[in-house]
Structure formats: C-alpha cells, structure tokens
Amino acid sequence: MAFRQKHLLGIEPLHPEEIKTVLDVADTYVDLNRQSNKHSDALKGLTQINMFFENSTRTQASFELAGKRLGADVMNMAMQASSIKKGETLIDTALTLNAMHPDLLVVRHPHSGAVDLLAQKVNCAVLNAGDGKHEHPTQALLDALTIRRAKGRLHRLNIAICGDITHSRVARSNLILLGKMENRVRLVGPPTLVPQQFREFGCEIYDDMAEGLKDVDVVMMLRLQKERMDGGFIPSEREYFYRYGLDADKLAHAKPDAIVMHPGPMNRGVEIDGTIADDINRSVIQEQVEMGVAVRMAAMDLLARNLKAEREANNGVMV
C-alpha cells in the first residue's frame, strides 16, 4: 500500500497516491463505523496521546473515538491547564512525554509550525490536529472523502472555498489537497480575509460571491474566526452576511447539484444561512463529521503500520 509517511504533519508532503490510500482505507472504516460492533485491533497495544494546546471539542472527540475503536490506549491531555502554564517549553514537554513511550501523538497547537518542531523531538508517529494558521491535514482528508463519496470523484471539480481564508488552516490544507488532486480551486471572500498571494499557487480569487460561486460543484464555507482576529477585518457581521454569507440566492449561482460543506462549528447567520445548513439535499455537514472519525482511523492505522515496520527493521528496538 502506498503510504510512506512517518508522521502526518500536513497535506503538503503527501503524494496524491498516499492521499488516495488514506481515503481508500477510510472507506472501509466508514463501513465498520456503521455496524453495531465498531471494534478493530489495528492499534491494539499502542498508546495514543492527544495533546491539545488549544481548545477543541469536536476534533479531540473524533480522534479519541477513532483511537478507541481501533483498540489503542487513549489519553487526553489538556495542555492549556498544565505544564505550559508552569513555564515549560514545548520541547521539554515533548521530551517528557516521549519518555513515557507513546506510539501516536495527536497534537494541536496555536502556533504555525509548532507540531513540526515537536515531531523532530519524539520517536513516535505525530499527527497534526491543527497548527496555528498553517495546516489541519485530517480535516482536508475528511473533506476530500466527503466530496469523493458525494460526487463520485475527486478530480476535475470546481471548488469554492469561501470566507475567512487568512485565519484558516482548514483552507490551506484543503487548497493544497484539492490542487494535488487536480481540481480547480477558487478562494472567495473579502480581500481583507483572502491572502492575494494564493493566486501564485494556482487559485482563482474572487471578492464577489455571485462570481466566485458560478458553476461550482462544491461550496466550502469557513467559519469567521473571530478569536484569531485582532479587529478590523470586516465592518460588521451583518454586512459580512449580506455580502459573503451563504444563502439561497448566492447558492443559486453554483451548479444545481452543488454540495455545501462547513468544517464547523458554524456561525448561523454570519457565514451561512441556517436553512442552507439544514438542507439535506445540499448540505453534507453531518457527513463531514462522520467521515472525520473514519479518516482519523485510517490515518492512525497507516501510520501505525509504518511505525511497526520500522521497529521490526530495527529488531524491535525503539530508536
């Protein structure tokens, strides 16, 4: 099977075949998750530690469930309340944890690049659960799986990523992944929230929703990340909703069978109209959550296989 990564730090290092492999494995876990007995032994005996240096409910729950279903021993560490507060550096925290011999580390951190740094200091597989405004690879993979299942393919699609691109790691991972799989990616939003430099990476950029959504197959809405803003990016939420919020009028510019996605949590009436979010014919937002667990199971499964293979090559000695 074509998946050679030691860590899952981002979409950028992945080969399109590796992305395909993750999605293929995830498909089998979707089936497993729909059964009454959701257990597998893929991670049996392994230890998974979830380190979240930033608040998370959904992603953490998804990773925890994925680990437990695969038979791992899962531990959650709420890092905000612990050693950082006492002044420990990230590297010291990593070394401390490493001494406990974890096999899978799931890390979220508010600063871009922090998860990469941590991965250099430990000898287990590290999964990036979101680092600052950089990447959120499992989100992009679950979005890809959702699109592939809804559209029957993951190439030659017109996909609009809309809203707060500047503050979004989801957008970065998605536009890299969708680009690698040969789709046309558009970024739509107010220019204060869309870095124009992404044009150089092959994205088309629009500041008008009607133009940006014209004939797209997929509309991916992003949350307005108020907590990451230092003020002044948009005049008000009501004007934002009026110009950039997804409602039926704006969605009418997309293809009639276009699907609507949102990574959650949603701000209804800010970036998306409630009736669109709830429209079961258009919205795949609930499917995204379901795919999330399956994709994380697949990613951890594949990383664990590589980890075990590496250890076997070293005669079972951890390096």
Binding site: P190, P191, T192, G231, G232, P235
Partner: protein, 421 residues
Amino acid sequence: MTIFTNARLIDPETQTDEIGWLRVEGPTIAERGTGTPPMGESIDCGGKCLAPGIVDLGVKVSEPGERHKESFASAGRAAAAGGVTTIVTRPDTINAIDTPEVLEFVRRRAATDAIVKVKHMSALTKGRDGREMVEIGFMLDAGAAAFTDCDHVVTDTKVLQRALTYAKSCGALVIGHPQEPTLSKGAAATSGKFAALRGLPSVSPMAERMGLDRDLALVEMTGVRYHFDQVTTARALPALERGKANGFDITAGVSIHHLTLNELDVGDYRTFFKVKPPLRAEEDRLAMVDAVASGLIDIICSMHTPQDEESKRLPFEEAASGAVALETMLPAALRLYHAGQLTLPELFRAMALNPAKRLGLNSGRLSDGAPADLVLFDPDAPFVLDRFALRSKSKNTPFDGARMQGKIKGTWVDGLRVYEG
C-alpha cells in the same frame, strides 16, 4: 425650454471661454452655439459669464447635532447664492455619519430642505475614531458618495490598510487628510517666523508630506481610489506628482482659503482665519495656485465649516477651526482670475468638472445631455463683503469687510432657477 443668449460660456471640458448661447430643455442642457440663437423663451445674459454650477466636495452641514450652526435649508440657500449647485457633505457631524440609518436620515433631510443637490459622504471608521471600518458596502447601497474621517487621520496604519483593501473591493472612493497626526497635534499655525513671533503652537509643513507619503504607500498596496482632501504645502507636491506619474488612482484638492490667504492674514490672532490645516506661507500659497493651473491639484473646495460666535470668540489656540465659504468661494476664486494666475475655464475645471468626474456625476460641464446646473455671474462687479448678509447660519468668514469682485446673478439646478442676484 429656455435659451441663455449673449452669454460668455465658460466650458471647463473644452477649456473655452467664448460668447454664445445655450439651450436648456427641461432639466438638461440640449444645445449650444455661437451664432444666432434659436427662437424661444430666452434670458439675455448681457455678456456675463455662464458656467457649470460648482460641485463643492467637502461641505459641513451641521445636521445632525448642531443645526444652530447650519442646516440643510440654510446651507442650500448659501450654496445657491454662491453658485454652488451640488454640495457634497462631510460626515464630521455630531454624531458622525457612520451607519446606513444615519445616512438615510440626512438624505431625507437634505431632500426636503435643500434647494441645491446634495451628496453625502460617510465616515471611513466608526465614530471617526480610527479603530473599525464602517459598513462600507451598506453605506454605498445607502448612497454614500465617498468615505472619509475628515481631519481625523487614521493613525493605526493597519486599520487604514484593511479599510482601504475592503473599500477597493467595493469600488469605493476614499478621501484622506494628509497629515502626520502626532506632529500636528495641538497646532494652531504653521511653523515659521510668524508663528514664532506670535507664540502660537505650530506644525511643520513637512507633516503634510509625511502623511501624504504614508497614504501613497497604502494606495500602492491596495489599489484603492483615493483623494487627498487638502494639499497645501509646496513640499508635498513632488510626492503627489510622483504618485500620479506612477499611475495610482489619486486626486488632490485644496481649499479656497489656502489659495487666497496666507499665515500673515491671521494678524492679531483673528480666529476667523483659523482653519485646518493652518494657513501657510505665501510661497506655499503661490505653489498651490500654480498646481491648480497645471492640473496637479485637481479640485478646489470651500471646506465650508460653520462655527458659531461662541466657538470663535476665544483665545486663538482654543478657538474652533474652520470658515464658512459657500457664498464667498466664487468671488474669492475670481481674485486668482483677476490676478492673471488662472483662467476661468481652469477655475471651473477645478471647481465643477473635476469634482463631478471624481464622484461619477454627469454635471460640471456645458455639454449636451449634462444636467442644467448653471451659474451666471459678472466677474468684474465689485462689492464689499458684509458677513451678516451671508445666508449661512454661521457668519465666520475671513472675508468680512473684504473688497471683492464677482457677483452671482443667477443659479439654476436642473434647469430651475434657485437664486437671483
């Protein structure tokens, strides 16, 4: 149908000044010529000047908040008496015009009370306090002609950058006040011999260029349409020229006071001469006149700022800034014509055509199809200005008692006469 005959037609578009006739059909200019006028109801202009009505960019009407200083009714009458057919109001009212709801209110007031056309500008940031941009999209939908915080410079460059980026995406025109705000804080005069002698807190004329340079860099970053409300110092001109040569979408204005008065006019602390930015040296004034003649400065405005007696009858430093000018703008500008520094078509290019173009209005010209917004004036008729004869509610003019030349004989808005002198 009305035919203006025997008129000296001042056309800023073709830069011509010639005797002829002009036919008005309903609210629009239908035809003009130089030979025998067509038959019909006519007004004999007696060889006096007929020009497009002035479009005055940056008028303070003190509604809401200070209606005792100026209302839409009084400002409209003053404008008509001064040959101003379109006033573009400033948002520096109390409270600032920074929400679509307030804009809607003033638009309604203007529509019922003013006898000339009124366009409204919106603040650029909420409360003009330089922290958060206004709802630029909603304000445009509500009819905002441009966005400006007036003399409140947005000091936080990041806030300004975002506001300009957003404004650009909406296609909005932004108007800035080129001034380095920390240098000019508290200043009542321009640094120089006069301010030193009078012991007034003063600001270096370089503060204007510093502000202009910063804003030009932001225009280059964002590509926004930008207008500098008042450029008043010689040293700012090369930067402005460079910006225009680089192809930025920029224009610049100057107030009538900075074209016709200098710092020495303040004399014995006469507060009616306190304006913002402060009056400049004579060399600066002459440089501004040249810049208008060459077209480097695009727009002459009145910077009409009504202040009541109480806010002016104070020590110079404490007195409020600003002067009324709707009625005195044209006679004052004619000083430059009589001095041989500017031709009449050049004056009306800066007072009518250019501001109209900048705001996307069809007025400011004498061509067929343009609205019949006209002013008829005798450029030579002398008079002594009596400030108590002004139609503005506030009488704070620096020209009180001044000998002036140029009387307005009539003003028409959309073909209807709104003033007869």
